[in-house]
C-alpha cells in the first residue's frame, strides 16, 4: 500500500482531532459516572452468595436514574472468598481507578478491605458484614449500612416478643441448635449475652446442641432435641443443614410450636423449593426489607422482572443500598474526589430507602445504628414480613401446623 502526501496529511489531521478530543473525553467520563469497585466473593466457598449479591447490579443503574441519581460504573473484583485475595483485589481496583469501594459480604474479607480503604483514603461502603469491630477502629473512610451482630440479636428478641404477643403463643422451653462454625459459635455466645437484656422472653433454653457444619445426617441431633420436649426450636444454621433438619423433624414426627431461626437457610429460595409445603411455618429474624416502602416495592418489581425465579433477599437489598449511598454521595459532593465523597457519605440522610427503620444515616463511627431487622415467616411457599409492626405486611401465625397434617 502506498502512502502519499495526501494520505499522510489526512492521517495527521485525524490524529490531531483524536488528541484534541481524548483528554476532554476522559475528563467527561470521570465526571459522568463514579467508578465503584464492587468486591464480592464470586468464587470459592461463598461463591453462591457473592453471585447473588451481584445480581442486583443489573437493576441498580436504571433505578438510580429513576431517582434522579447519577449512574455508576461498576468495576467488579472477585475476593475468591479469601481474606488475602480481598485485600489485593481492593489494592488492584484502586490502582485501576476505583473512586469508591463497596463490599464484601464476609466480615473477615471486609476487615481487610477496610484497612486498604483507610490507608489509601478511598471510601468503603459495606454492603454486608456484621462483625462489630469494623466500625470501632476510628476509620474515617469506612461506612456500614448493615446491622452489627448485637443489633441483629437484639432485634431478634424484640421481634420475638412482638410475635408472641400477636399470636398469644409463648413457648416456655426451647432448644438452641447451632452450626458449630465461627458464625454459629459467635451467634451462640451473643445469644446468651443479649437474651439477658430481654427478661420478658418467655422461654428457658433447656438444651444447646452444636452440630458439625459438614454433617451428612442430623437424626441424632433432632432426636436429642425432641427428647427434651421443648416447645420451641431456635436455630442458627445454613441452607443445607436447614433442609436436613426439616427432613428429620418430619421423619421423627416432631413439630415444635415455633421454629425460630436467627441465621440464613430457613427463608432461602432453595429451602422453599426443596421442601414445598413442609417449608411453611418457620420464622426467621434477619436484616430484610420493608415491603411497605415505595423504593422496596420498586426494587422488588425490578428484581422480579430481571430474575423471576429469585426472591428479593438480604443480599440484594443491602448491596443495592450500598450502591444507593455511593450514588447519593457522588451527586451531593459533585466530585469523585475521595475526601469530598467521604464527607458527603458522612452526611447521608436517605429517607427513601428499602431497609426497615427511619432511613440511611451514619453515626460518628460510620455505622447506621438506626437500622431495624425483621421477622419473616414462610407461608404458602412465599415470605411475609410479620414484625416489626411498622415494617410488616402480614400477621404472624403460631403454633406451627403439624408436619403430618400438611
Amino acid at each position: 500500500m502506498s502512502f502519499d502526501r495526501r494520505k499522510f496529511n489526512q492521517a495527521l489531521a485525524a490524529a490531531g482531532v483524536l488528541s484534541a478530543v481524548s483528554p476532554f473525553a476522559s475528563v467527561r467520563a470521570q465526571t459522568k459516572a463514579l467508578k465503584v469497585g464492587l468486591l464480592l466473593p464470586r468464587s470459592g466457598i461463598q461463591a453462591g452468595i457473592g453471585q447473588d449479591c451481584y445480581r442486583v447490579v443489573e437493576i441498580t443503574n436504571p433505578l438510580l436514574r429513576e431517582l434522579g441519581l447519577p449512574a455508576l460504573e461498576i468495576m467488579s473484583g472477585d475476593t475468591e472468598s479469601n481474606v488475602d485475595v480481598a485485600r489485593s483485589r481492593a489494592e488492584r481496583l484502586i490502582g485501576e481507578g476505583a473512586q469508591l469501594l463497596v463490599g464484601a459480604f464476609d466480615s473477615g474479607q471486609t476487615t481487610a478491605i477496610a484497612q486498604v480503604a483507610e490507608q489509601r483514603g478511598i471510601p468503603l461502603v459495606i454492603n454486608i458484614a456484621a462483625a462489630p469491630p469494623i466500625t470501632e477502629q476510628g476509620y474515617k473512610f469506612v461506612f456500614r449500612n448493615f446491622p452489627t451482630a448485637p443489633m441483629i440479636l437484639g432485634d431478634a428478641f424484640a421481634n420475638q416478643l412482638e410475635v408472641f404477643a400477636a399470636t398469644g403463643v409463648s413457648p416456655k422451653t426451647a432448644v438452641f441448635m447451632h452450626v458449630n462454625d465461627t458464625f454459629g459459635v459467635a451467634m451462640q455466645r451473643g445469644f446468651t449475652g443479649v437474651m439477658k437484656k430481654f427478661p420478658a422472653i418467655p422461654y428457658k433454653v433447656v438444651e444447646t446442641i452444636a452440630y458439625d457444619p459438614a454433617a451428612r445426617d442430623l437424626s441424632v441431633e433432632v432426636a436429642k432435641a425432641k427428647a427434651t420436649g421443648a416447645e420451641a426450636l431456635i436455630l442458627v444454621s445454613r441452607l443445607n443443614d436447614a433442609i436436613l433438619l426439616t427432613r428429620e423433624l418430619v421423619k421423627q414426627r416432631w413439630t415444635p410450636k415455633a421454629v425460630l431461626s436467627m441465621g440464613p437457610g430457613w427463608y432461602e429460595d432453595q429451602y422453599l423449593k426443596t421442601l414445598g409445603k413442609l417449608a411453611d411455618g418457620p420464622i426467621s429474624f434477619v436484616p430484610w426489607y420493608d415491603p411497605n416502602k415505595k423504593l422496596a416495592q420498586r426494587l422488588l418489581a425490578a428484581q422480579h422482572k430481571a430474575y423471576p425465579d429469585i426472591s428479593l433477599n438480604t443480599n440484594h437489598v443491602y448491596t443495592f443500598e450500598a450502591l444507593l449511598v455511593a450514588a447519593d454521595a457522588f451527586k451531593r459532593a459533585g466530585s469523585a474526589e475521595p475526601k469530598a465523597l467521604a464527607d458527603a457519605i458522612r452526611t447521608t440522610d436517605i429517607k427513601n430507602n428499602v431497609s426497615p427503620g427511619p432511613g440511611i444515616l451514619f453515626n460518628a463511627k460510620g455505622q447506621n445504628d438506626k437500622l431495624k431487622d425483621s421477622a419473616i415467616q414462610n407461608r404458602g411457599g412465599k415470605l411475609v414480613t410479620v414484625a416489626p409492626k411498622d415494617a410488616a405486611n402480614a400477621k404472624p401465625e403460631l403454633p406451627m401446623k403439624p408436619y403430618q397434617q400438611r
Binding site: 466457598i45 461463591a47 453462591g48 458449630n180 446442641i209 452444636a210 452440630y211 458439625d212 459438614a214 451428612r216 445426617d217 442430623l218 437424626s219 441424632v220 441431633e221 432426636a223 436429642k224 425432641k226 427428647a227 441452607l239 443445607n240 433442609i243 436436613l244 427432613r247 418430619v250 421423619k251 421423627q252 414426627r253 432453595q270 426443596t274 413442609l278 408436619y403
Partner: protein, 290 residues
C-alpha cells in the same frame, strides 16, 4: 432421657452403618485383591450420587431401581480405570499409587464442581419423608430401604466370590499372585474386574445414599476417610469386616452423639479406630499378615 430415644438413635445408626458398610466393602475388595488403596473412593461415590441425581431428574425412577444401572456404569468406570491407569502402577512404589489415586480424586471433585456447582442437591422420592412407627420406635423409611438394598448387594457379592468360577479366580489372585500366573489366570484382567466390582459397590451405595442424604462435590474426601475408618476397624481386605465395621461406626457415631455432644460424634468413631489399632491392629475380622 427416655430409653426409646436411645433405641431410635441406635436403629438409625445401624441402618446408616449398613449403607456405609457397602461403600467400604468396595474399598476392602479392591485392597484385598489388587493391593491398591483407592484414595478416590469417596469421590467415586459422589460421582455415583450425581449420576443418580441426573437419572432421577430425567427418568423419575426410584434410586433403588437406579442402583443397578449406576452400579453397571461405575463397574465400567472402575474396570477402565484399573486397566488403563492403575495397572501400570501395580509394581511401582506405594507413594506413586497414592499420588495417582489422590490426583484422580481431585480431578473428580473439580469436574463435579464445574458440572454441578457447589450447592447441595438432593432428590425427593415418594417415601422421602416417611417413617415407620413400631411401638416407641420411629424408623426412617428411606434408611430401611437403603439398608435392605445394601444387604442384598452384599449377599450377591459374597455369593459371587464364593460360588462362581470367576469369583474363585479372583480369590486365587488375592491369595497367591505367582500361583495365579502359573496356572494361567489373566491376572491383569482379573485385577481390572475386581476394581470394577469395588467401584460397582460404591455405585450401588451412592445410589442408595441419595435416598437418604444430599450430595455436594466436596463431600467425597470425607466419605473416603469414613471408608478407611470402617475397613481398618473391620479388617482391611475382609468383606465381612467391612460390613461389621460399617455397623459399628454407624452405631458408635449415633450413640456417641446422643450420650455426649452431637458435634463430636465423629470423635467417637475415631476413638473406636484407635482402640482397634491398639488391641487388634489387623482389624476385628482381619487376618494377621506374616
Amino acid at each position: 432421657m427416655p430409653v426409646e430415644i436411645y433405641l431410635n438413635v441406635a436403629a438409625s445408626g445401624l441402618l446408616t452403618g449398613l449403607v456405609y458398610g457397602l461403600m467400604a466393602l468396595g474399598l476392602s475388595v479392591i485392597f484385598g485383591v489388587v493391593r491398591v488403596v483407592n484414595f478416590a473412593h469417596g469421590e467415586m461415590m459422589t460421582l455415583a450420587m450425581y449420576l443418580t441425581l441426573l437419572l432421577f431428574s430425567a427418568l423419575k425412577l426410584d434410586p433403588l431401581v437406579l442402583l443397578v444401572p449406576i452400579a453397571a456404569v461405575l463397574f465400567v468406570f472402575g474396570y477402565l480405570l484399573q486397566a488403563g491407569l492403575i495397572n501400570p502402577f501395580i509394581n511401582r512404589p506405594e507413594h506413586s499409587q497414592f499420588m495417582l489415586l489422590v490426583a484422580i480424586g481431585l480431578i473428580l471433585v473439580n469436574a463435579q464442581l464445574i458440572a454441578f456447582g457447589p450447592d447441595a442437591q438432593g432428590i425427593r422420592t415418594a417415601y422421602s419423608f416417611d417413617s415407620y412407627q413400631l411401638g416407641p420406635l420411629i424408623v426412617d423409611a428411606s434408611k430401611v430401604y437403603a439398608a435392605g438394598a445394601a444387604l442384598v448387594v452384599a449377599a450377591a457379592l459374597f455369593a459371587f466370590f464364593r460360588f462362581t468360577l470367576r469369583g474363585k479366580s479372583i480369590r486365587a489372585c488375592a491369595d497367591n499372585y505367582q500361583g495365579a500366573l502359573v496356572v494361567g489366570l489373566n491376572v491383569k484382567h482379573l485385577y481390572a474386574l475386581t476394581f470394577g466390582i469395588g467401584a460397582a459397590c460404591v455405585g450401588a451405595a451412592g445410589a442408595m445414599l441419595m435416598a437418604v442424604t444430599d450430595v455436594t462435590p466436596t463431600i467425597g474426601p470425607s466419605y473416603t476417610l469414613l471408608a478407611f475408618v470402617i475397613v481398618i476397624t473391620g479388617g482391611l481386605g475382609s468383606m465381612g469386616g467391612a460390613l461389621l465395621g460399617g455397623l459399628l461406626i454407624g452405631l458408635t457415631e449415633a450413640l456417641g452423639g446422643v450420650l455426649f455432644t452431637p458435634s463430636a460424634k465423629s470423635m467417637f468413631a475415631f476413638g473406636l479406630l484407635v482402640l482397634v489399632l491398639l488391641f487388634r491392629p489387623q482389624g476385628i475380622l482381619g487376618r494377621k499378615t506374616a
